[in-house]
């Protein structure tokens, strides 16, 4: 018998790509789609944003591997920000971008006029939380809505039951503690406009809480335990079946500012969990190793956000966030010689002879090994690789491939 779940289309795994290298790694590690920022109209003014040339290269690479590319144009525009928008969307369409992610309805309107064939996704910045609103956007021609991070699993069920539109939901990464788009702390505290890419992450600063009682302003926070508002990071790796059953069409990973190591590790884990589920839904079992992998790249402690309950104190970070990741990005494999078992590595962080490292690769288990010898590009023996992007060679115990990643314990 075919179950409802099996007949449902496999959800898309959507990964962030802060630059062209990250895009390639995300795709190689199993992302069905990536989202990037162009040089204009996006919310990550500090990410390595893509020029038209780079977008073209990224689109070609992704399409060659059967993956899609979405471009975020999710600022909330002011009067002067509309210049050049028509041309921008027309160019993206011509380049072959698969969709644009937009938050501001005026920009949706401009995009729909300028490039009617270009698919539009409504950004999470619009804080969409109910099916009636999704219906409104569906009628406006929006193909997909990225839900607010405040939606619960039950609410997603209800949304999918009531409206026929693609739904994308964040499953992993950092979260605004506010409703996205409804926070201007950064504007008030630093004159940096959060809704146009200037967010200074003021919600993660330390504050003092005061009460104004009969004796005037009295501090509530002791010096060593400031009032803080930052959220733990979302991680839904253990709940893949629930997300599939709720009907989420696209599983979104946050993090255009994150490293190649982070993107590859996280995508790899989710890819394997989703594939395992679809192989045998009835016999699916969560594999603890996926979680171990994710924690090796995690920046902060994790939470399930709003999916199962309104987050409480245990879902927040108070005081200085603990260091979670035990591992650092050490290098990427450029090449491997089968007959000698020697790999060529591009260094991303210092490593030396005697060090225990781990190798991970797309859709396979990691392996550990000790470095016993290192050669530089000219074949000279060296004891340490300490120059960024330095190319070195050493022998590996098991075969590796280009795009494999090497990490080291911190």
């Amino acid at each position: 018998m075919v179950t409802a779940v099996q007949t449902r289309k496999k959800p898309e795994l959507l990964a962030p790509a802060g630059d062209l290298d990250k895009l390639k790694f995300a795709v190689m590690y199993g992302a069905d789609a990536v989202y990037i920022g162009g040089e204009k109209f996006g919310l990550r003014s500090k990410a390595g944003n893509f020029s038209y040339e780079k977008i073209k290269e990224g689109v070609e690479f992704a399409h060659r591997h059967g993956a899609k590319v979405f471009v975020a144009a999710n600022i909330i525009a002011h009067n002067e920000d509309f210049t050049g928008m028509e041309e921008y969307f027309q160019t993206l369409y011509k380049i072959g971008v698969d969709a644009v992610i937009i938050a501001d309805p005026a920009i949706i309107e401009i995009c729909a006029m300028a490039a009617p064939e270009l698919e539009i996704h409504l950004s999470t910045q619009a804080s969409t939380t109910n099916w009636q609103t999704l219906k409104f956007w569906a009628e406006e021609g929006v193909k997909r809505v990225v839900l607010a991070r405040e939606c619960t699993m039950d609410e997603i069920h209800k949304i999918k039951e009531n409206v026929n539109i693609e739904v994308e939901s964040f499953i992993h990464g950092a979260m605004c503690i506010s409703y996205s788009g409804r926070c201007v702390l950064s504007n008030h505290m630093t004159n940096r406009d959060s809704n146009r890419g200037g967010c200074a992450q003021s919600c993660r600063w330390k504050y003092d809480l005061f009460e104004d009682g009969e004796d005037g302003m009295e501090p509530i926070s002791p010096d060593d335990d400031s009032y803080t508002m930052g959220s733990k990071d979302l991680c839904m790796i253990e709940y893949i079946p629930d997300l599939i059953k709720a009907g989420v069409d696209s599983f979104k990973i946050e993090g255009r500012m994150k490293t190649i190591h982070y993107v590859a590790t996280v995508v790899n884990a989710y890819r394997r969990a989703i594939d395992a589920y679809y192989e045998e839904p009835e016999n699916y079992r969560f594999n603890e190793e996926w979680m171990e992998e994710i924690l090796k790249a995690a920046n902060r402690p994790i939470t399930t956000g709003f999916y199962y309950h309104t987050p409480t104190d245990v879902d927040q970070i108070f005081g200085t966030p603990p260091k979670v990741a035990q591992f650092d990005f050490a290098g990427i494999v450029l090449d491997y010689e089968e007959n000698t078992g020697i790999a060529t590595i591009e260094q991303r962080n210092r490593f030396a002879i005697g060090q225990e490292i781990e190798m991970i690769g797309p859709k396979r288990d990691r392996f550990e090994q000790k470095i016993t010898q290192i050669w530089d590009e000219d074949g000279n023996e060296i004891s340490v690789a300490n120059t960024p992007l330095q190319r070195v060679r050493f022998k590996v115990d098991r075969p590796v491939n280009a795009y494999d990643i090497m990490r080291k314990r911190k």
Binding site: A77, E155, C183, V184, H188, N191, D193, G198
Partner: protein, 304 residues
């Protein structure tokens, strides 16, 4: 300058509505806590009905805020709630979530709609977009410059409302962040309201913070006071100027409304009379010590 500039103020109780009308407000904004955001008080349907009677008596207007972010359970209540507002013939419904616009088409078809998403009402094109969808008025973000709000007004045929006095919301979370912090501290004591947060290592700015059924809200450290720029607002034909009454006493709001009323009337009578320094002095006299007066983002340069 033939159009009259409307003076709008948000109110927390039926009694306050009456006092604010008497002080010279042309319209009040009210709302029920379940469906609105950051109103000074909660008005159930019977209170809205009473407010409507008072408004008719004074020949004033009542705008009902239905501007929360609607989650699925609440959306199911929209049809009947908007139906009630239609029956009460309120003068406008203020919305941010398109779900309200959709429900209003069926359940409150003759009530004007005012669009207000606060932080994201930032351009004339977006104002025109919601205008096409049925909004007759846009309430602009407070993070805009003077030049930008004028730019909006000049590029739309829809009514434009801006805030000219009071505090503004700068952060809204669905979470109960103050309770969460107290739970983390394992400190079960009752807190004396109001509460404030301050940036660690910065002593000059107190940001009010409060929780309600919509989550946690952080408000601006200063009160906007644009009374000395009134001539410019009037000259550019802004349709409505708003005083936010939240977290202020009825006495304070009453005085502020009366000062702005007098100033607007004087300027309507003689646009060239200029600013009367007595206006600002009167507001300064009642301004709470912990709330500096400022001009918000009207004259600030932001980067991004």
């Amino acid at each position: 300058m033939t159009n009259k500039t409307e003076l709008v103020v948000s109110a927390g109780s039926v009694e306050e509505v009456q006092r604010l009308f008497q002080a010279g407000a042309d319209a009040v904004e009210i709302g029920q806590a379940r469906y609105s955001l950051r109103m000074p008080g909660s008005f159930d349907s019977s209170m809205i009905k009473e407010t409507m009677q008072i408004a008719r008596h004074f020949d004033k207007k009542v705008y009902v805020s239905v501007n929360t972010l609607f989650h699925p359970d609440l959306v199911e209540e929209l049809a009947s709630y908007l139906g009630q507002l239609q029956e009460l013939s309120v003068h406008a419904i203020i919305f941010g979530d398109p779900a309200v616009l959709m429900a209003a088409r069926e359940n409150a078809p003759t009530i004007p709609l005012h669009w207000s998403t606060e932080t994201t009402s930032t351009s004339y094109r977006t104002v025109n977009y919601w205008g096409k969808k049925g909004a007759s008025r846009a309430i602009l973000a407070r993070e805009l410059s003077f030049e930008e709000v004028i730019g909006v007004k000049q590029n739309t045929t829809h009514e434009v409302q801006v805030q000219i006095h009071g505090m503004t919301c700068i952060f809204h979370s669905k979470r109960s962040l103050v309770s969460n912090y107290m739970d983390h501290r394992k400190d079960g004591r009752e807190l004396d309201l109001p509460l404030y947060i301050k940036e660690d290592n910065r002593d000059d700015a107190n940001y009010p913070i409060f929780q309600d059924e919509q989550g946690t809200h952080v408000m601006s450290a200063e009160d906007i006071c644009m009374i000395e720029q009134l001539p410019t607002f009037i000259q550019h034909g802004f349709d409505a100027l708003k005083i936010d009454g939240i977290l202020k006493s009825a006495e304070y709001n009453e005085t502020v409304v009366s000062v702005y009323r007098r100033a607007i009337d004087d300027l309507m009578e003689d646009p060239n009379r200029g600013v009367d320094s007595a206006w600002m002095e009167e507001i300064k006299r009642i301004q709470p010590e912990t709330r500096p007066l400022g001009t918000g983002f009207y004259f600030k340069e932001q980067v991004y």
